[in-house]
Symmetry: C3
Subunit: 121 residues, 3 copies
């Protein structure tokens, strides 16, 4: 899910021209990350994360003995990262040519929540 | 090791109400990361990191030819991350429901050192 | 490529004494990361990333159907990270004993671009 427009709206509302913007997932099975907005690449991410941290068998993870079945989602989010910090210059996100901000949820059952915090002048 | 209380104490001492807090490991074989405070999950992290970046054999890593035996710890820390940046709102860490800050040391022989830097008003 | 001297030059030019410094790659197949300046370790990183996210076969990645052949570079950069945030104290990068900032490019065909943003007083 590309959340760049939402983050830009927060920045505009803040009126901040120069500073740093933090955007982080508030769930520990979710990620905020920056990459290319290309569908094939996102499918590659999903397959790759499933290879590095397979969901099944559920019983291979100690965390799942607590009644959860989402240990793999915690590992996947660790690879993808919790947060991004972006420079704000002239009131805009100071991005390279293909940078876009995405929210990725690896558990799938949670309500999505993102925090945006901006400091500067 | 859950360092959330230590970080909160630093924040309180700073008196900062609105801003950003950086917390990073000062050793390059250690991590500061945010996740759930659940013992089973932490065991899952350890097993998973050992699978992705096994300690042995030591001789598989060029870094270990320098007299070190901790190349795997550098790789593990890369997965887990060096630092976290957390929003400060109303003088408190602005966390999602289960977010806690942890220090993880993957070499095991070093004195633990963490840096906390807070900016804002 | 060790970019610590370049980042230090930006910091000196800014005149900022206390604050936070963000340094990020502007390409989504590149990383800015902090680790040890040891050649063997860097070779270990390269071999390890190739094991976790192999370049070939190119056809295993959906992204490469768009005419690209660098899907693996996107995955490798995700492991290594896009950005670092470093504390600035007394006008200097507040580093642990072996911390150095590196730029890593996993595609190899792009011009290198890094953004440095510093806030504080």
């Amino acid at each position: 899910m590309n959340i760049t427009p939402n983050v830009e709206a927060c920045l505009k509302e803040s009126g901040i021209q120069e500073g740093l913007l933090l955007c982080n997932a508030m769930h520990i099975t979710a990620s905020v990350f920056i990459n290319d907005d290309e569908r094939g690449l996102h499918q590659d991410f999903e397959k790759w994360l499933e290879r590095l941290a397979p969901e099944k068998t559920h019983s291979q993870y100690d965390h799942n003995r607590t009644g959860e079945d989402n240990a793999d989602a915690h590992l996947k989010r660790t690879i993808m990262g919790r947060e991004v910090v972006v420079a704000v210059t002239n009131g805009r996100l100071d991005f390279g040519p293909w940078e876009q901000i995405f929210y990725g949820e690896f558990d799938g059952k949670r309500r999505k929540r993102v925090l945006v915090k901006i400091i500067g002048d």
